[in-house]
């Protein structure tokens, strides 16, 4: 049996450092919001024949007065253009300037007004907060019969930290990716965070469930810490295997799936890894520490 709780402070410090680093990264660099949050346009085109030089494309667009335009070449003949929110008339003008429909095929065009973005931001934050509250209440409810030696609401509260840990680290990673690799955070990223919340709590519940069962069966007196440590060990293979199957799937989506879901899968990959870490090395150790503190008093 692995003595996981013996090194509990080490694991918690590691988790704390990662969360702190993520918070700092977000404070310094922030996140790079996608157009669904800020409003703006994204135009993906493919040149039917030869693709002109980047400078030529930029120069052609300049007189259109659509603010800051970034042009990025993709694949052999593709190009990705980003600019502010425009109306349909301007859209037609842009296509004309780029060579008209004879020379370029329009693969994708998104333009989103700024008001929608504000609303989406509000909704996203609300969704995450609601999800955390919902899960915590649910855990408190499920473990309501477990009151000794640790009361049920403490299981819920400990889960909050684990959940914050699970979403904060992917946010931190995407803040770094945003700064160095221009990776944007969009609605799918928020979706990924919520999925992480639901999934990571799976593992935590399985460990808690085992603690509950072991407490009930307890014949010989043993400390709470021993029971918890035993419970973690008994569920360890399961926790890791479940996360592995989901990781396998996510890697398949990341490598073979479409462009749209690539970073979505990446966010989930980080979330699942740290979610598994938190349910083994964060949630239960916190429970034990809390118990030990109240016992001393």
């Amino acid at each position: 049996m692995l003595n996981i709780l013996g090194k509990k402070y080490l694991f918690l410090i590691a988790s704390g450092i990662l969360v702190l680093a993520s918070v700092i990264s977000v404070l310094i660099w922030g996140l790079k919001p996608g157009i669904d949050f800020t409003g703006g346009s994204l135009l993906e085109i493919e040149y039917k024949d030869a693709r002109p030089d980047l400078q030529v494309v930029k120069k052609n667009i300049e007189p259109l007065d659509i603010g800051n335009v970034t042009v990025q070449f993709t694949g052999e003949r593709g190009a990705l253009l980003r600019f502010k929110h425009i109306d349909e008339a301007k859209h037609i003008e842009i296509i004309q300037v780029l060579g008209g429909s004879e020379k370029v095929a329009e693969k994708r065009f998104d333009t989103i007004g700024p008001t929608i973005g504000e609303e989406l931001k509000r909704r996203s934050i609300l969704a995450i907060v609601l999800a955390i509250i919902g899960i915590v209440l649910y855990i408190t409810f499920v473990f309501r019969q477990v009151s000794r030696p640790v009361s049920s609401w403490k299981y819920g509260v400990v889960t909050i930290w684990a959940l914050i840990h699970d979403v904060m680290i992917p946010i931190g990673i995407f803040s770094i990716l945003g700064h160095f690799r221009n990776v944007e955070v969009d609605t799918l990223f928020i979706t990924a965070l919520l999925t992480i919340l639901g999934f990571s709590v799976h593992d935590t519940i399985v460990v808690f469930d085992r603690i509950r069962e072991n407490l009930r069966k307890l014949k010989v007196a043993e400390t709470y810490e021993t029971t918890v440590n035993r419970s973690i060990n008994e569920t360890l293979t399961r926790s890791i295997n479940t996360s592995l199957t989901v990781l396998i799937i996510l890697l398949a989506i990341f490598f073979f799936g479409g462009e749209t879901t690539r970073y979505f899968a990446l966010a989930l990959i980080f979330g699942i890894i740290f979610g598994t870490y938190s349910s083994i090395f964060v949630a239960s150790p916190l429970l034990v520490i809390w118990h030990n503190l109240t016992k001393k008093r």
Binding site: E88, A105, A127, V142, I190, T195, I205, L250, I253
Partner: protein
């Protein structure tokens, strides 16, 4: 058959049930993807084909290609109590306008978000997005026009013969009476002939203007135009002062009803503004679908290999249950139908990885019980009973997040939340009931001593 049930299946019954599941899987598989069977049938030249268009998958715009438009309505000139009905009217008008394009199953929805009223328009597989947007964006406009004096009419007709004044209407000229003054249009039936007719009710200002117009146009025609095209040109019989008028004509009750709808809509001064446009070209959508399909297959095979290598015999059974799971979920997608977007498919693929979670819980538990020295059959039973609470509790948390995603999300997120949610619910059935049944079906006497096929993986 609750999973926590103490009574367990006898091998005989389990085998029958397992056969039922197998059959179900085959039938659902055919239902999900009839073209594969058709290809085989073609090989054998049997001349039988299964209709492929029977319950097709509903593809989202990002897969079949199309445009998603969101319009913001400016309701500042309308009293709050009429917002909802005004929006409905705008929706009807736009729906009709879109129908002119012959788009299959267009979606036109009114959405209220906070204090904003919006109209969501989804056009699938449309080529000429630009003119569609132009057509949709125009505010419905109703106006009344009176006959031109004969002299004017002849002048215009003459000019038109020479190719001039092409856009002038030689017969009617605009008046100041427009849809702005129309209070309400209603479908009526003539008291004596019982023919359908349309009653117009004008506002007070409108009634005055209407009085003047009718006074100077007795025995002449007064045309009603919608969006610049004449829809009716009744003859004025006398001056109308009360602000009420009837339009009679060769209406069927259906056409009269439609006209009433258009009149009421045309009378609404609700300008709309395009705030979101998302267009995906069909070829790009096809590429996304192919790649998602590829990712799904690779992911499934990888998970299946993992399960078989780690859990051996139960692993194989779990893979069978997983295959049944896939066929059930796909059938549900077809039946509801669930609109499959790229994100939605990702949610489904992800659920394949999560679906084996319950199996892993059960099998790990079995191994534990075996290690404690229980006989195989007891260990299997305990595995199912003991793992149930964990399975239930852990899946509910994912359902909570799926529900929140669904209620608060935009269409992209909704697709994902729905497929993931359906996946979680079905997986609880497939992983528990199906796996258990198959396991008991193969759990004959011969297997009882073969503990090795159960105790596997890295046994600690």
């Amino acid at each position: 058959m609750t999973p926590g049930d103490k009574k367990f299946l006898r091998p005989r019954n389990a085998r029958i049930l397992a056969a039922v599941f197998l059959l179900m899987g085959i039938i659902l598989g055919i239902f999900d993807a009839p073209h594969y069977l058709n290809r085989i049938l073609q090989e054998f030249r049997l001349g039988i084909q299964i209709p492929e268009k029977f319950f097709p998958f509903r593809e989202g715009l990002d897969i079949q290609g199309g445009t998603h438009l969101v319009y913001q309505a400016d309701l500042s000139n309308i009293s709050a109590s009429d917002y909802s009905s005004s929006m409905e009217a705008v929706r009807d008008v736009i729906e009709r306008r879109i129908n002119l394009f012959g788009v299959s199953e267009p979606v036109v929805q009114v959405e209220k978000s906070g204090s904003d009223w919006r109209l969501i328009v989804e056009l699938a597989g449309i080529k000429d997005i630009k003119s569609a947007i132009k057509l949709i964006g125009e505010t419905p406009f109703l106006d009344f026009r009176e006959e031109r004096p004969e002299a004017d009419r002849n002048k215009i007709l003459e000019a038109q013969k020479k190719g001039e004044m092409q856009f002038e209407d030689p017969y009617f000229m605009p008046t100041s009476l427009t849809g702005r003054y129309l209070k309400k249009a209603r479908l009526d039936f003539d008291q004596t002939t019982f023919e359908p007719q349309i009653s117009l009710e004008l506002t007070d200002d409108g009634a005055k203007i209407f009085g003047d117009i009718t006074k100077r146009n007795v025995e002449k025609r007064l045309a009603i135009y919608l969006d610049g095209a004449p829809i009716s040109a009744p003859v004025v019989r006398e001056e109308i002062t009360g602000g009420k008028a009837q339009i009679t004509g060769n209406f069927t009750s259906q056409s009269a009803k439609e006209l009433v709808g258009r009149l009421n809509a045309g009378a609404l001064p609700v300008p709309i503004k395009l705030i979101v446009q998302q267009s995906v070209e069909a070829s790009l959508g096809k590429e996304s679908l192919d790649r998602s399909f590829m990712a799904g297959i690779i992911g499934f095979v990888a998970v299946a290999l993992f399960m078989v290598f780690w859990y051996r015999l139960p692993g194989i059974l779990a893979v069978l249950a997983l295959m049944l799971y896939v066929t059930i979920v796909l059938a549900i997608f077809k039946l509801i139908p669930v609109t499959l977007t790229v994100a939605g498919i990702a949610g489904f693929i992800l659920s394949i990885g999560m679906a084996v979670d319950a199996n892993i819980l059960i099998f790990e538990r079995m191994k534990e019980e075996l290690r404690q020295g229980k006989v195989l059959e007891d260990a299997v039973r305990e595995g199912f009973v003991r793992a149930w609470t964990s399975i239930r509790d852990s899946n509910v948390s994912s359902l909570i997040t799926s529900a929140i995603l669904y209620w608060l999300g935009t269409s992209v997120v909704k697709g994902f939340a729905l497929t993931l949610g359906i996946g979680i619910i079905i997986s609880m059935f497939s992983a528990i009931s199906v796996t258990r049944t198959i396991l008991f079906a193969v759990l004959g006497r011969r297997l009882k001593n073969l503990r090795i096929v159960f105790l596997s993986g890295l046994s600690r």
